[in-house]
């Protein structure tokens, strides 16, 4: 009896969510304007990225501060293969998988030399890798112009599905679907795909091996888990999701440059996971959405608020936003290190770490 009730409840929640997600762009677009639909599109991209990084950091427990590099690889792969830069215009169903595979290849390539590293060392080496890739993107415009250097690549093709460009407005059933709406639905479908992928991985033989690795790598090895392969699988699959998101970003934005792929972006994605609830898919989604939406809200609030109350701009909104972000990281770690919406298991891990610390201290 309770089973059916539960199932009914689940179906109910699912339907409500589905309806909300289906009408979201229209609701947001008509109330807040289409700029906010664009922001929601970005939130979905960040959800995909954060879930990708979550495989590496959350599931397998490998600190990665250079994750944005894989996003960059996916983005540049799409940009180079679908733009006037090389006059190549391949369709998205070739470029996005190609970019994702290329990113996964990079993930494994960069993962191999750092297999023995843990913790802070791993973080700083991956940070180094991320910077190396950015330096190359910035400078590979001479002597052969591959990336077009700091100027980046422009006029990237929008995704075309069945002859319809997502970069245009479509009239359908009396409704007008703008480009940001069309991309919203595409991103939504892919995000759902990534969520399903991540969740199924987590509850599988592979997911268990990752938890084992994260909790005690020596015991994991002694149980027959091939530590090298399971780590590389995490790096590769994480990078794969990053690559997909990168290709989507490229087509959506129509423009890529190295500036979009700095360390701060890597930190931002890591923060989404940590503040949301590491390893916990709903938490990570929450973190990604919050860290995309809240800064935008602040952007539109901080300026007018100062003008209205103080009569002048005391602190530049961009500056204030970053300041609050930094403070949020510090405060969150001190007050609630397990994140806003942690899994029960993680919560326990943090609580025990704290107890151990208290005993030592």
């Amino acid at each position: 009896m309770s089973m059916t009730l539960d199932t009914n409840k689940k179906i109910g929640i699912f339907l409500v969510c589905a309806i909300i997600l289906a009408v979201l762009p229209f609701a947001v677009g008509s109330v807040l304007g289409n700029a906010w639909v664009r922001i929601i599109d970005f939130a979905l991209l960040y959800v995909m990225l954060a879930l990708g990084l979550n495989i590496v950091v959350g599931f397998a427990g490998l600190l990665d501060l250079g994750f944005i590099a894989f996003y960059a690889v996916g983005a540049y792969a799409y940009a180079l293969l679908s733009s006037p830069h090389f006059s190549i215009h391949l369709p998205f169903y070739i470029t996005i998988p190609l970019g994702a595979l290329f990113a996964a290849f990079f993930g494994v390539l960069l993962g191999t030399p750092v297999l023995r590293l843990k913790g802070d060392y791993l973080a700083i080496v991956t940070l180094g890798f991320g910077e190396i890739i950015r330096i190359f993107m910035n400078n590979l415009n001479a002597p052969v112009n591959i990336t077009n250097g700091p100027q980046g690549i422009n006029l990237i093709d929008p995704i075309k599905v069945g002859g319809v460009s997502l970069g245009s407005t479509i009239e359908f059933a009396g409704l007008s679907f703008r480009s940001v709406y069309l991309y919203y639905y595409l991103f939504l479908v892919l995000t759902v795909g990534v969520v399903i992928m991540a969740s199924r991985l987590q509850h599988s033989r592979i997911g268990r091996a990752w938890v084992a690795l994260r909790e005690d790598d020596i015991a994991a090895a002694a149980m027959g888990i091939n530590i090298r392969n399971i780590k590389l699988l995490a790096f590769g699959l994480g990078a794969l999701s990053g690559g997909v998101a990168g290709g989507l970003f490229s087509s959506f934005q129509g423009f890529v440059s190295p500036e979009s792929f700095g360390l701060l972006e890597s930190i931002m994605i890591l923060a989404m996971i940590v503040l949301g609830g590491m390893g916990h898919i709903p938490g990570v989604i929450l973190g990604a959405v919050m860290l995309t939406i809240v800064p935008e809200v602040l952007r539109s609030v901080i300026g007018p608020l100062q003008m209205n109350t103080l009569g002048r701009m005391v602190i530049d909104p961009e500056n204030a936003r970053m300041l609050l972000f930094g403070l949020a990281l510090v405060v969150m770690m001190l007050v609630r290190p397990e994140g806003m919406w942690p899994s029960k298991r993680r919560k326990a891990e943090f609580r025990h770490a704290k107890e151990n610390a208290a005993q030592k201290g």
């Binding site: 399903i196 992928m197 199924r200 991985l201 599988s204 033989r205 592979i206 997911g207 268990r208 091996a209 938890v211 084992a212 909790e215 005690d216 020596i218 015991a219 994991a220 090895a221 002694a222 149980m223 027959g224 888990i225 091939n226 530590i227 699988l233 699959l237 298991r345 993680r346 326990a348 891990e349 025990h352």
Partner: protein, 256 residues
């Protein structure tokens, strides 16, 4: 002549200036309980780590069930049929008891990332089999009542049993137990003894490190004694017990 399961010869392991294992050789036969004793710091755990692939020996030979395992990686060692427990219990603390045992099935199952994402019938069947096998093993060591508890929250005796169940999940030919009775009261120790006999009767050979000499004498078919990284005696318990070198190692030269 019994069937040889594991054979090492001339194993050396050095840590910087410390010669932790000095030309150690031993042979374990199928179906026996083989004990390893020695004073603290004699190299027992080092030898254990060499035999389970966590340490790479500097020299020597290491064959197990016809396979050369010299400097093999831990997962290769487990695959060939050696499973272990740890002196200071290393369970996956925040996983449930059941999940711990399920991790033990990793090496005997195949499902990869693609299978996990697609959840095809084969993967689901395998996952089901893993779960059933894990339950079976929890039942075998007698802790099904705590299957869903986090490993961290189990009592000490249950944790020891869970670690054995997890090791058994890898379908070992040789089960290596590092001081499984440490910290147990006499009743728990008796239960453990019964469990070990049951495992051996089920066809799994056992390698045992233990401080409790009486337990070792009762339980083991043969015993090797390590001292300062060297094997100083080997044989059936009655003989080893009376070996003057062993008495000297344990009680010091003054008593010899």
């Amino acid at each position: 002549m019994a069937d040889v399961l594991l054979q090492i010869e001339g194993i050396h392991k050095r840590f910087g200036g410390l010669h932790a294992l000095n030309s150690v050789g031993l042979t374990i036969n199928k179906g026996e309980i083989y004990g390893l004793i020695g004073p603290n710091g004699a190299g027992k755990t080092t030898l254990f780590n060499v035999l389970t692939g966590l340490y790479q020996p500097d020299e020597g030979t290491f064959t197990f069930n016809g396979t050369n395992l010299f400097r093999a990686k831990p997962h290769k060692v487990v695959e060939t049929g050696i499973a272990r427990t740890f002196q200071n219990i290393r369970l996956f603390a925040e996983m449930s008891a059941l999940e711990n045992v399920m991790v033990g099935r990793h090496i005997r199952t195949r499902a990869g990332a693609l299978g996990a994402v697609l959840r095809d019938p084969r993967t689901r069947a395998e996952e089901q089999a893993i779960r059933e096998k894990a339950w079976e093993l929890l039942d075998y060591v007698g802790i099904t009542d705590v299957a869903e508890e986090r490993a961290r929250n189990l009592s000490y005796g249950h944790q020891r049993r869970l670690e054995i169940a997890r090791a058994l999940a890898t379908d070992p030919l040789l089960l290596a137990l590092d001081e499984p009775a440490a910290g147990m009261n006499p009743r728990e120790t008796d239960d453990l003894k019964a469990l070990m006999s049951k495992i051996r009767d089920g066809g799994v050979t056992i390698l045992l490190i233990e401080h409790d000499v009486k337990l070792m004498m009762d339980l083991c078919d043969r015993i090797a004694v390590l001292d300062y990284g060297k094997k100083i005696a080997e044989g059936v318990p009655e003989v080893v017990r009376k070996d003057p070198k062993v008495i000297e190692a344990y009680l010091g030269a003054a008593h010899a």
